[in-house]
Symmetry: C2
Subunit: 360 residues, 2 copies
């Protein structure tokens, strides 16, 4: 596809969670329809999509029908089975493409890609067994984190090793899955850059946000982040380097550790990112629309920021706070329409505008 | 209904145009689903609604099924047949209620309501025939506008009378419908107040915007409007007076003429309003969400403005400008997904943020 998608076209989205939901809303703003493909019933994105297909990623018939019914395909999460992509990509363009997925689906491949690009990461080693782990502990040192190479998110599939006697349990936690050992990084705080690149090779980055996690899940993102001018420049150039190397099309989240020795890449996510939700307030074009623009072959929008924002995730029981949050000044509430507020489940977020308000 | 609607509840919306579309998106932000009732096929709101009913307002079975499938009912336009409301209101709360509809569906009733409230309007007279018209011309004078009392919008059902010899054609243009004669108002510009009131009686108003029309259709709304501090106060108090008198629940657009002798009410619209589209940029809570909050029994959100905005409507062939508009700085594009760009048809709008951007 070289022509930009026209109003009325349909964008297929793999995954029907809150990211698919907000992508769907952004697509509507540009006059597009969306078709959600999601194995789970009643997905949050289904409330605002034109069509929903409820089927497994192994359902070849459903995948083909989905691809035939859309103009292009994108996704809200990176763990799409390769077998599904094989079927889909034969029928319609998928953006970002499988190169980005391949890199980000495997933490080891991702780290190797980043270091090949001259970027700094935590020291790492591939771990298949106790021997590998013993060697890594000796070479890289402790504390460290053992992570499954694939399918980990929000702190799942991770085990911390503070002392050698944690090693056995950590390895057991991996349940036999190939793992990666990541050495300790002495960072002061974490920031992330939400970057976008379109088919024409244009790159745009939002102002970096500063992330605070709680129980392994993003708690708040504050914009602007605490960064020196040169760190800010480094962060943006580094993100652009990653997107350009991958010939990436879409929005990517790049998580960075801020250390006295410079920025260290924690991980990349080839999709819209929780730490970019703040862009819904205070930018003419938010990350969701930026992603849709990129995958639709449109020019990127203006992501300039015209206010400070603090984004706070609403997790599980935080939903009990909705009545008071709804009445708060300078606060935009975003709920995902999920029926059950389980512990650790992302139920919504708020964006608090922290500057401006001269006309209150 | 006294309890606020909970996440997952369904809001029924009568009308599936762009206002219903943007209401549906706003409802999703608060975790609600929407069900659109619309006679026309493939309505714009259908792209982002959970359920769409395609049926006529005379279809009692469809109306009943719709009402039974939703928690509350609201609408995107004021010309809902009373017979449909009779059926719907017996089953579920409709907000705003029929009092507001009755007042705004008939220009004569509206003008009488406003003057009874002590507010200024253009001089007016009821016109049923040529005798009424001759009397009105003699008493109120020319130039003037003859309008159908009901079902007029965007300059439709209106005829200007500059000299007495226009009278016959103007009356013929009414096609026998009851009409209203409106005298000339010497105004410098038009502003509108987007006001909201909820079930608890809270009232909130957005900053007034200044409207420019072209060919009888809103062309731009600029915020802030040119108003003195006392005019601004008058505008807001006057809008609040109207909403309170009607025990109104929801968002209302109040159009005002600015004259040397004060503010004159042009008309009221018991719904979200084209001149309030600018609130999508630069406010924590936009007019669509404010309406959903009000009808859902929620507290009103903070509509404080933190940037200047110019909204421009995209009408008909303006769609040809989308490629350039999409690449403009500081510009948010909102397209309605309508397939045919007919002359005079509202296809979308842009919001241009005109202040701020300190981080470009």
């Amino acid at each position: 596809m070289t022509e930009p998608l026209s109003t009325g076209a349909t964008i297929g989205i793999l995954g029907g969670g809150q990211l698919g939901r907000m992508l769907s809303v952004a697509a509507s703003r540009l006059g597009f329809r969306t078709h959600i493909f999601e194995p789970g019933a009643n997905p949050p994105a289904g409330d605002v999509a034109h069509v929903v297909t409820t089927a497994a990623y192994e359902d070849e018939v459903a995948l083909r029908a989905f691809a035939n019914g859309v103009d292009i395909i994108t996704y809200e999460f990176e763990n799409i089975p390769t077998s599904a992509l094989d079927i889909l990509e034969a029928l319609k363009p998928a953006r970002p493409d499988r190169v980005a997925l391949r890199v980000s689906q495997d933490r080891l491949v991702e780290k190797a890609f980043l270091t090949d690009l001259g970027l700094k990461t935590a020291p790492f080693a591939a771990i298949d067994d106790a021997v590998d782990l013993a060697e890594a502990m000796a070479e890289i040192g402790l504390p460290a984190i053992l992570k499954t190479r694939r399918f980990g998110y929000d702190g799942k599939g991770q085990a911390r090793i503070n002392t050698p006697d944690h090693a056995e349990q950590a390895l057991a936690d991996m349940a036999g899955a190939p793992a990666i050992f990541e050495g300790f990084v002495d960072f002061s705080h974490e920031v992330s850059v939400i970057a976008a690149r379109n088919a024409a090779g244009e790159v745009a980055c939002y102002d970096p946000g500063e992330n605070v996690h709680r129980d392994g899940i993003l708690h708040t993102t504050t914009i602007p982040a605490r960064l020196t001018a040169s760190q800010r420049t480094d962060a943006v150039l580094l993100a652009a380097k990653i997107l350009n190397k991958l010939n990436y099309i879409g929005v990517m989240g790049v998580e960075l550790f801020v250390t006295p020795k410079g920025l260290i890449v924690n991980e990349i996510a080839p999709r819209v990112h929780n730490s970019g939700h703040w862009t819904q307030q205070g930018c003419a074009v938010d990350q969701f629309e930026q992603h849709i623009r990129a995958v639709a072959g449109w020019p990127l929008g203006d992501g300039s920021r015209y206010t400070d924002v603090v984004m706070e995730n609403l997790i599980g029981d935080d939903m009990d706070r909705v009545p008071e949050l709804a009445a708060e000044a300078n606060t935009s509430l975003h709920l995902y329409g999920k029926s059950q507020a389980k512990p650790g489940r992302k139920m919504g977020h708020v964006n608090r505008v922290t500057r401006g308000g001269s006309h209150k």
